[in-house]
Amino acid sequence: MMQTLDLKSLSLREVNSNLQGSPQKIDWMIKNPMGRHAIAVGLDNSINVKIDGSVGYYCGGMNKKANIVVNGSVGPGVAENMMSGTVQVKGNASQYAGASAHGGILIIEGNSSSRCGISMKGIDIIVQGNVGHMSAFMAQAGNLVICGDAGDALGDSIYEANIFVIGKVKSLGADCVEKKMEKSHKNLLKKLFMKAKIDNMEVEGFRRYGSARSLYNFNVDNANKY
């Protein structure tokens, strides 16, 4: 049975404490989010949360285990520092989607603005539209899948994360290069699409980008690349 929390009548604290203290396996519906910030943050339980509308900053921040669906668009920092679980955005995402997140999967059905996946540390992010500039900046680990186009300076100063893009890449950032798409990478992409329940994407045509690893240790001859 679905439990409803209405932000028109409840405070943010009341909504979040209900979710944070929820027994496992409960379905929650958040009504009237009205662009409020920090909704459904710090969850640490296997619950399903549907948010009926658009939200502000940091929705699903530091999520563990919970499955969160936003039936709208999200402000900056959706699923920031997520550890596990799922955050699915039916609309578009603002800046820093999935910033520094360690695990789980973030699915953005629309577009994602600049710095999507910044300093990501193990999360899988699938953007079904386009991403803005500096996406995967300093990305450390995990996979960023872009089913549209990427803006300027993609993967700038990237570490060991993978970026997969099917559309155009406006430009690559420092130390980011195209890498061979091996069979293992195609299998990885297939698994990610299956996990995200995306059945209309083919893995053929995706290109892979990652670190050239030439800036990992300082060398004065590379100074002009920074």
Partner: protein, 439 residues
């Protein structure tokens, strides 16, 4: 050639031996000098202030009989569980990675015995650190290395780090030599790379964003623990006002003497302002917003003894924080390691290549052999002794000024020895009623 009178060889004060050696080093290596610690240059500091003490117009308290409170509460504005400290001296954030595991344990032990808090750093929270620190502040840094909600909820307070006095506007640095398997795993980085942390947070920029970030942290931790904001001393009046506006429960302001594990020498010595210069503008911001002593001000950067503690508090701080002094208490730069310092091309008191991981004292290293040199139990005892001595020294001064609480010390208890210190600290030049810039 004429054998007429010759002048004495005259060395340049501009191109002094250190400057020349740095030019040669840069020419040789092609990289800027990286080192640990804070500013080493002569700066106006607490040494340029004196306490007036009691006389006919003020009466003192008995040194060993009348009490002088040292307890301080941090973050009681919003948090259900504020930080109650027995002494107003906290331990600043220093990372596991920059410091060895035993060094972090020693700091936790020492701080706990003395009744104060210690702070994580750019690299996450270790079990040893949480286990040995009764009161632990967890830093939220731009890199977010090792940041996770479980540790966040284990913390007694959260410190949002905006800047560090040694490098306002700069990020952390940990070079490959110190990125061993455990450090690499905690930071999700390949082993042996040069790690240069970002200087900005990945998911917010200005003060309006920071206010929302603080809201998120409160929601994740159920409004239980204080949220502290740490800023580098740059534009203290505005930075402190904006931190208050963003909802900080307490603020750390770190002057340019504040140490770092590693950054560029040019950064340490040329960016930011001295600790002495940042306190009064910070206090003015708090006073104008009506929150002085309600949003606590913690001052760091070159605090070395009880006199520095008392002077910072007299200028309006609620507490201070130490880093470099704590490392020295543990054994950093101790003359007993002189032979090893000489082998590294330096001498005790000057050793600052902490990033290279060869610390003879076993503190700023990840080398398993070197780190054994520090016994965490003995180190903890030394640190607690030092903290207790600093506290007693500050109490001695406070009683001499007639104060039964360290927080009752006030600018009127002070005078300055130099015009510069007088202007920066806003206290009169000794023997006068003159403060430069004031009527």
């Amino acid at each position: 050639m004429s054998q007429g009178p010759k002048t004495h060889p005259r060395q340049s004060t501009l191109f002094d031996p250190y400057t020349n050696s740095e030019i040669r080093r840069a020419a040789e290596t092609g990289i800027y000098d990286i080192r640990g610690g804070g500013s080493k240059r002569r700066l106006p500091h607490f040494d340029d202030l004196l306490f007036l003490g009691a006389s006919i117009s003020r009466y003192p308290l008995e040194g060993y009989r009348e009490s002088c409170n040292t307890k301080v509460t941090i973050g009681d504005k919003n948090a259900k569980n504020p930080l109650y400290l027995d002494i107003p001296i906290t331990i600043a954030g220093m990372s596991f990675g920059a410091l060895s595991g035993p060094a972090k344990e020693a700091i936790g032990r020492g701080a706990t015995i003395a009744g104060t808090s210690t702070t994580t750093g750019d690299g996450g929270m270790t079990k040893e650190e949480r286990g040995h620190s009764k009161k632990l502040i967890y830093q939220l840094l731009p890199s977010r290395y090792g940041m996770n909600p479980d540790d966040l909820r284990k913390a007694d307070a959260i410190e949002v780090v905006v800047g560090q006095g040694a490098k306002p506007g700069g990020g952390g640095m940990l070079l490959g030599q110190k990125i061993n398997d455990r450090v690499a795993e905690m930071r999700t980085l390949p082993k042996g790379i040069d790690q240069r942390s970002p200087c900005r947070h990945p998911d917010w920029t200005g003060p309006d964003d920071m206010e929302i970030k603080i809201l998120e942290l409160r929601e994740i931790t159920g409004w239980k623990v204080p949220i502290i904001v740490k800023v580098a001393a740059a534009r203290p009046f505005y930075d402190i006002a904006l931190a208050v506006k963003a909802g900080a429960d307490a603020i750390v302001i770190d002057g340019m003497q504040g140490g770092t594990a590693a950054t560029q020498e040019v950064f340490i010595e040329n960016v930011g302002i001295p600790t002495l210069a940042c306190i009064r503008p910070a206090v003015k911001a708090l006073q104008e917003l009506g929150v002085h002593k309600k949003v606590q001000l913690i001052v760091s950067g070159g605090i070395r003894n009880g006199a520095d503690v008392a002077k910072a508090m007299a200028l309006g701080a609620d507490a201070v924080s130490i880093g470099t002094a704590a490392l020295i208490a543990l054994g950093d730069n101790d003359p007993k390691y002189e032979e090893q310092y000489q082998k590294l091309g330096t001498t005790h008191g000057a050793y600052d290549d902490w990033h290279e991981g060869n610390d003879p004292a076993g503190i700023t290293t990840q080398n398993p052999t070197l780190m054994k040199k520090l016994d965490p139990i003995e180190g903890g005892r030394r640190l607690s002794n030092f903290l207790k001595v600093m506290t007693m020294e500050a109490q001695t001064i406070a009683r001499a000024c007639g104060k039964n609480d360290l927080r009752n010390l006030e600018p009127e208890d002070l005078c300055a020895l130099t015009v510069e210190a007088s202007a920066m600290a806003g206290v009169p030049l000794a023997g006068t009623s003159w403060i430069p810039g004031k009527q």
